[in-house]
Amino acid sequence: MRVTVLVRPKAGILDRQGQAVESSLKHLGFKVSGARVGRVIDLDVNESDSAAARAAAARMCEQLLANALIESYEIELPDGGA
């Protein structure tokens, strides 16, 4: 099952990369007042049950994919599954 993990810098954590992106967008003439840069990880998890796939992805985030000090994560399943 395809599971998508979104890892974001936590609110309040300074994101210099996001600031650089924001300033470049402004240079191009876009009206933006904020940009935060995170990471998308598409996983093919060997689970057919969406609850099990979500639980597995959560364990992956806790152990490796996100650093809880500075990052939050969100798990997305196909069709918004369980």
């Binding site: 954590i13 300074l14 210099r16 650089a20 490796l64 650093n67 000090l69």
Partner: protein, 235 residues
């Protein structure tokens, strides 16, 4: 008769680049360095201290140090640290120790978003550690940094705790903070005091011919602590 040389294990990860410099510098200050491949499950039995060197372990994929912490050798390093053995992480080694939970906090991309490579001055804030015992409290050391992700971050409550307990061992001097680290932190030590990480590279500053010999104070402190650990049992 010259003093016996304690073994200092230098862990080599795929992508480590300062392992040989670290070994050379450790030998120069009286250690018998031994390179230990990351896939090893044990450290040499006579190991008196461990150094995790600088570089880009596992390509720094995902986050710096995030993957290296799962190397088999890291399990042995964690056990060595739990037993009170001195462990020093330099640059990427610091990042690995943070990701492994052996040190608090995390290293983030430099505030400038630029790689920085130059000499910096650091102040020894705590000279009562196995890594700074050869230094004077408040001493200024000139040691080079070279990193893209050396911006130390600890949440405010953790930082208060670190400051209150003297665990900020090195701080960038004179407001010249090369990477935006919170409170100018350049090096921190674990609660038990036997694990330290720092972004500057002491192994690149062991001879005035190379610009500074101040890094030798850090490494010689570590070697002294290693000797006490290894040779205490024999005496």
């Amino acid at each position: 008769m010259s003093a016996p040389r304690p073994c200092v294990a230098v862990v080599v990860f795929p992508g480590s680049q300062d392992d040989r410099d670290a070994a050379w510098a450790l030998a120069a200050v009286g250690a018998e360095p031994e390179l230990v491949w990351h896939a090893e499950t044990e450290l040499p039995s006579r190991t008196g201290a461990v150094v995790l060197p600088g570089g880009f372990s596992y390509g720094d994929y995902l986050r710096c140090g995030a993957i290296a912490r799962f190397a088999p050798a890291m399990r042995a390093v964690a056990a060595f640290a739990r037993d009170g053995g001195p462990v020093l992480g330099i640059c990427n080694g610091f990042q690995i120790l943070c990701e492994a939970g052996l040190l608090p906090g995390v290293l983030r991309p430099n505030a400038s978003l630029s790689f920085v490579c130059r000499d910096v001055d650091v102040v020894v804030e705590n000279a009562a550690t196995p890594f700074t015992r050869r230094c004077e409290p408040g001493q200024r050391l000139t040691i080079p940094v070279k990193h893209g992700e050396g911006c130390y971050y600890a949440p405010p409550e953790l930082l208060v705790e670190l400051e209150a307990s003297g665990r900020v061992v090195l701080r960038y001097a004179g407001g010249d903070n090369p990477n935006g680290s919170v409170a100018g932190v350049a090096g921190v030590v674990s609660a038990a005091g036997n694990v330290m990480g720092l972004m500057p590279h002491p192994e690149h500053a062991v001879d005035p011919l190379l610009g500074s010999g101040d890094g030798a104070l850090i490494l010689a402190s570590l070697v002294e602590a290693a000797a006490e650990r290894v040779f205490a049992a024999v005496r």
